[in-house]
Symmetry: C2
Subunit: 117 residues, 2 copies
DNA sequence: TAGAGTGTGTAGTATATAGTATACAGTCCA
DNA sequence: TGGACTGTATACTATATACTACACACTCTA
């Protein structure tokens, strides 16, 4: 049971139904890893790849890199920069998010997106 | 110039003014690392320590572990679990936070904290 | 029915991470 | 003025990370 691997395999298989260029081997070739490795990643046999590999993967599959990085349990390096600049603030946000029920987070996201900040 | 190291040294030196038990060597001994290593961390000679070491450090100095982890550019493993459960949602929040000015984030944090979610 | 393409199993590896071990020079103060 | 303490420099290291290389069995189709 691997969140990242499952997501990856489903996304790739969905694309593969339309275009054969989304076979495991061809994707692996395009993003520059061995097919055996990508296979292991998809089956959760090994952990999620490095940040740069996740990003190349997201680009090839047309997925949102931030979502894929989140699934991989990583924090993108540009986000790390944001955090580093205001760690206290970020820690506060995190603290709130931890205890918040899903609907609250959803509401928060919507408010943030739609509000005039 | 190391955000984590500077914060650490300042926090420790401040405590040291009151109690000599906050010398570099004694802190190192209590949290279970070599003094030479802690010295390098404080001066930014090496990167921030591992998550568990950061947490022991925060506990010994009476600092907020989430703040220190944020300064270390890390995401605590329990937060990673939260993210893993709803990566899309989190990616959305992150996306917003990236572009938000400081005052907006502050306001957001306050609203979240004080609001009845 | 051979050849191209498919996914996967096994074994090994380069690099980064997160430190250790020991030695050294300076300070404090009894 | 010598012992206990301070921080730091140098050299080395165990473990984890993020893969590679290659071989194998299967399927599809021309």
């Amino acid at each position: 049971m691997s969140a990242f691997g499952d997501f990856l395999r489903e996304a790739r298989e969905a694309l593969r139904k339309q275009e054969p260029r989304y076979s495991l081997r061809q994707v692996a070739a395009r993003i520059g890893v061995q097919p055996s490795y990508l296979s292991k990643v998809e089956r959760g046999d090994v952990g999620p790849p490095s940040e740069s590999t996740v990003i190349r993967l997201a680009a090839d599959l047309g997925e949102d890199p931030d979502v894929m990085l989140a699934l991989a349990g990583k924090v993108s390096s540009d986000l790390q920069e944001v955090i580093r600049k205001r760690p206290r603030l970020f820690a506060d946000v995190i603290l709130q998010l931890k205890d918040m029920p899903d609907r609250a987070v959803l509401r928060l996201v919507r408010e943030v997106r739609d509000g005039d900040w």
